[in-house]
Symmetry: D2
């Protein structure tokens, strides 16, 4: 007898086509943008591949900022489409700096596309969106931002910054499902797509999505859109609206601030040292010398505290504390620091758990 079956999922009806467009409009309203919102009927990694595939053509030059494996993927997709790509690679697990971007771009003959991940769930880095957007505008380049791990926790002024493609993942700060994603596309983004050969027919061709949905009056989506994901997304958007997007962003910022202040009070410096370059979704801490990330994670799990592994080349070097969605709250932040502290202390690391909790409480009381 399995304690894990979810039969209720099989009893849920189809998502009515007339709810797609209002849902897209609600997302646009939350993001405060006039860009079109289109759905990609698969997880956000496929939305990113769809963007890359839909904008790539030979003759273009792109600068691609790499601060985690996702950036590396994006470069590979652009190259597969014939684009000449310069990867701008940060220190392992660290955010890129604005000067590094500017310097790298300055040697390029031209700049057609500039790509960056905004927040990195893999290491807790936050890249300098405004400065990079300025670079794109200065060079008249198409600006592609992966906001999967920042939307809902950081303010993003899509129209003001001139973001042409913003990849949106519902499953992090928006508290929604995984198997569905969205892209905000500017008029300039559509113009570029119109001038680019489409990998048609494909559910991952943005040109096809435009032709088969947007241009047909936004009724039925192409293919067979997954109802569970759309119902879940609609419910999640409803929750964000009920809380207010600004309140949700503030809640995540508060959780990040409390976590970082608490860590320092405990005696642990966060992996990302600069507060302004730190994600509001996750905070990473370095694995102390001589200790093993996997062991610490298992011990945390034994206490019911989820310490996440890094991802990519720094996977053994840091631990991730998740304060996303429901976890962006005093109770979760306290428990995470308590658990991390307990695990480190057991290995002889000098930590002051009490100081951490006191500081977390103080940060929350002040609000």
């Amino acid at each position: 007898m399995s304690p894990h079956d979810y039969n209720a999922l099989l009893d849920i009806p189809n998502f009515p086509p007339e709810r797609y467009a209002p849902l897209a409009d609600r997302i646009a309203r939350l993001l405060g943008t006039r860009s079109d919102i289109v759905f990609v009927q698969a997880e956000a990694l496929l939305a990113l591949e769809a963007i890359a595939t839909s904008v790539a053509r030979p003759g273009l030059v792109a600068a691609n900022i790499v601060t985690s494996p996702y950036g590396a993927y994006f470069g590979a997709w652009l190259r597969r489409g014939g684009v000449e790509v310069l990867d701008i690679v940060a220190e392992p697990g660290q955010p890129i700096t604005a000067p590094a971007v500017e310097a790298a771009i300055s040697v390029l003959p031209k700049l057609d596309i500039l790509v960056m991940v905004h927040g990195e769930a893999a290491n807790g880095a936050l890249n300098p969106l405004e400065a990079v957007a300025r670079q794109a505008r200065a060079h008249g380049a198409l600006l592609i931002i992966d906001a999967v791990a920042s939307v809902g926790a950081h303010a993003i002024d899509i129209d003001g910054l001139g973001i042409d493609f913003l990849a949106i993942g519902p499953q992090k700060a928006l508290g929604g499902p995984v198997g569905l994603s969205a892209v905000a596309i500017s008029p300039r983004g559509w113009s570029h797509i119109a001038a680019t050969p489409s990998p048609s027919p494909s559910l991952l061709s943005l040109a096809d999505i435009k032709a088969n949905w947007l241009d047909k009056g936004r009724g039925a989506l192409p293919g067979t859109p997954p109802p569970l994901e759309f119902w879940a997304l609609e419910a999640a958007i409803g929750r964000v609206e009920a809380e207010g997007i600004d309140a949700r962003i503030a809640r995540h910022q508060l959780a990040a601030r409390a976590t970082r202040t608490g860590l320092r009070a405990m005696g642990v410096e966060p992996w990302i040292v600069d507060d302004d370059a730190a994600s509001a979704l996750v905070t990473s801490v370095p694995v102390p010398p001589g200790l093993d990330a996997g062991t610490l994670i298992v011990e945390g799990a034994g206490l019911g505290v989820a310490l996440g592994r890094g991802f990519g080349d720094i996977e053994d070097r840091l631990l991730r504390i998740d304060h996303t969605g429901r976890r962006a709250a005093f109770a979760s932040v306290s428990a995470s620091l308590a658990g991390l502290g307990a695990v480190l202390k057991a290995h002889g690391v000098a930590v002051d758990i009490g100081a951490a909790i006191r500081v977390v409480a103080a940060v929350y009381k002040r609000t």
Copy 2:
């Protein structure tokens, strides 16, 4: 647009009658009893009223231990049925003591029924089950135990202790639904019912439940049993089986020990001083002099930490920390103590949050 509708609940099919008996058997197996398990198709408070109504008749003498309003209700129901009832009342919010029970009973001319709540969710008290059971056996009295707030978190040897009626609530340590309850009834319990006029016809008559379900081969239950509750109970029982009842009990005991040790390290003595008389579901703490329970609860909620109000005559005098079900875990215990500490500290109470968390961590590490 409401963020709170649960349409999925309307799509769930009926619970098939052939699943009732296996579900009852699984509960009996978890409890290690040969008593019959029967369902009461409503919350546990109605199961308790059903027991009282089904056993009461003029001419009987009962001793009724009162350690919360629930005990007072039970006495009222017995009296309504003509029973002569002696209430044995503990100090407000405190458990009864074995000597107090013995002394009270000793003055009675005879003892037909002995009634007690095992664990009190209202104040965190745990009454002395074994000693009271001995008293019942010594007097040949029917033993009725309200285990709604103890089953799944404390071991209860129904057959060994000679418990004739055990009221079971699925919604606490068993992690199940609210709108359904069960009663374990011994052969002696059935004999008593057979000799008592039944309030038939009624869904709350145990005699009717016997006649209409047990004696008819345990197929369809009488009335219209609520499918949502039965599916939920079945799923909950599946989870308990997967964890193991002993492991679940141990997990609750550990959470209680960690909470109590942590409180003392913080500088707060639990409301129930004796560890052996404390519930494994909730731990109460006194409201410090000069402070207001309601204010503290609101402030805790502001931090996302649930501090519960007392219930009954001590409702303004204590706060309850819930470590039941999923909350019986390091993360939840830590967060609760951190939150309680932060709230108290803000009112100038001298608490050492760090010491509390360190001790909680140590208790968990030791296991």
Copy 3:
């Protein structure tokens, strides 16, 4: 590996107390009544017992119309409370007639309470609500109506007819859950309760519900209200509002008319001959002479067509066709008649299935 577990039910949060009163108000609005709506936290049969227990006292005289076992139960509960009860019993499985009620009442010395089931799910009878309400008014008697199997499918003018207690079951035409019910209570109903000793403390005492919920500003309900049931009820009420109560009633009336006309075209006269005395939820047909109800039901189930058994003394004499909720639709009515016809034909009964379906289609096309 069980294909039937519903773990999702265990993940659903509590129903917030501040949603109870709005939900009650939405029900009152749907029913167009100024009566108070109170919840009974158990199935409707317990709501009926609660009404009986709450209004009964020695010295009262009641006329109790019995057209199914439910009526018999109500009489028993009134008698248990000391009321002198005259049962007015209809022919087995048939509705009562207005003259029969008038005649029976005329011999009583006085009439304090008049009780009737409106629609009978057990046999498809619809009792003459308006005429009976006139009798109650003429005698100044309290009027208690069991509308569990009629609300949502038949118009009921609670205030205009002077109904003092209307028992509401969410699980039939309202499409809601089973484990929760409601009662609409008039000011006169409350006055009667105020003058009657209450079976306090009890979740089934309407006086307690008034004292502990209505009079306390309609916040938290007493006891532990089952969240699954309340979420489900709220969702069901939302669906009724979206369809419109009048549209839902009309849909049920249409399904009943199509079923009855179709049956006659098939060559089968409905069990209830008079269309105005027939339920809009279920239509019964007589079991043809020489055939066995159980066999026909099994054969219907083999075709995926649910033919229901009667209930009470006519359980072997009729079959029930359910056209409630989602089943109040052409597709379901057609399938039911097709299935019934196929089963009867296989036993040599002369039926014209084609004529039935043609007539059903015609009834639906006309609308």
Copy 4:
């Protein structure tokens, strides 16, 4: 207040990685194959694109059977990958014939890949799987079968027929979710992939799926697999196992036979004339001359009967009756024929609804 939110979906936990491999094994067992089952974390149309993209390389010659737009897509994807593709196109909306395939292939210089959709949901055609598989074997060609709309309703001997890639969609006869699909891949299929440049990195590269999941011991899937879809697939597979795959196939075959026999008795010849070339999931009927498909569909919906539109070039020429999953039952088949008949009759088409239902009943009674 929306009557359509599905908040419960947001409360469902992650799908544990250790359940992926057992789930794949259960699917393999149901299909009776030794091929590897791999998951594609998106709808089946993307699984098909993944297969095409993963096997295509310049220098290969493919014969691609086109009996609906899906076949045309597959040809486009192969051509995009440099394959020389011969489309073997059937009459609009009709299945291909074995001789047509043989004749077309005979003119090719070589045959590396043979592709076919097994059952067509778009028009109800069933292509000749065994004969086509023989052709593939005779030419030593890789055999790719789209079984999305046939698996679970038609027996498919993957290993015996030598199918190298079988695309599996859970959402039709298997009764599962939409946003997830699977592919059964033979050792020969893997060898071909190993010899083909992969579109890495991509969630749609089968080589990547092999490297990142199969070759790593089948633990965590790459990317972020959607939990709702996996829980739903697991529950659906559980239901198929409980029914038995053979029983489920037989149930669909019976529904198709009843529908087709019933249609003929009504006076309507199915769109696909040959019973052996007809799908067990849907049965199409021609739109009678002078009538409009859209109008008929709207009128059917008015009766609560879902008549589907065709898809592709025959979309205005046929109506589809769905007898998939729960609809593979007498009640649904009867209701569909009754509804279709009523709609046609209202337009003056001579139909004998009664004869249809009698015949459907007879087909079901015989089993």
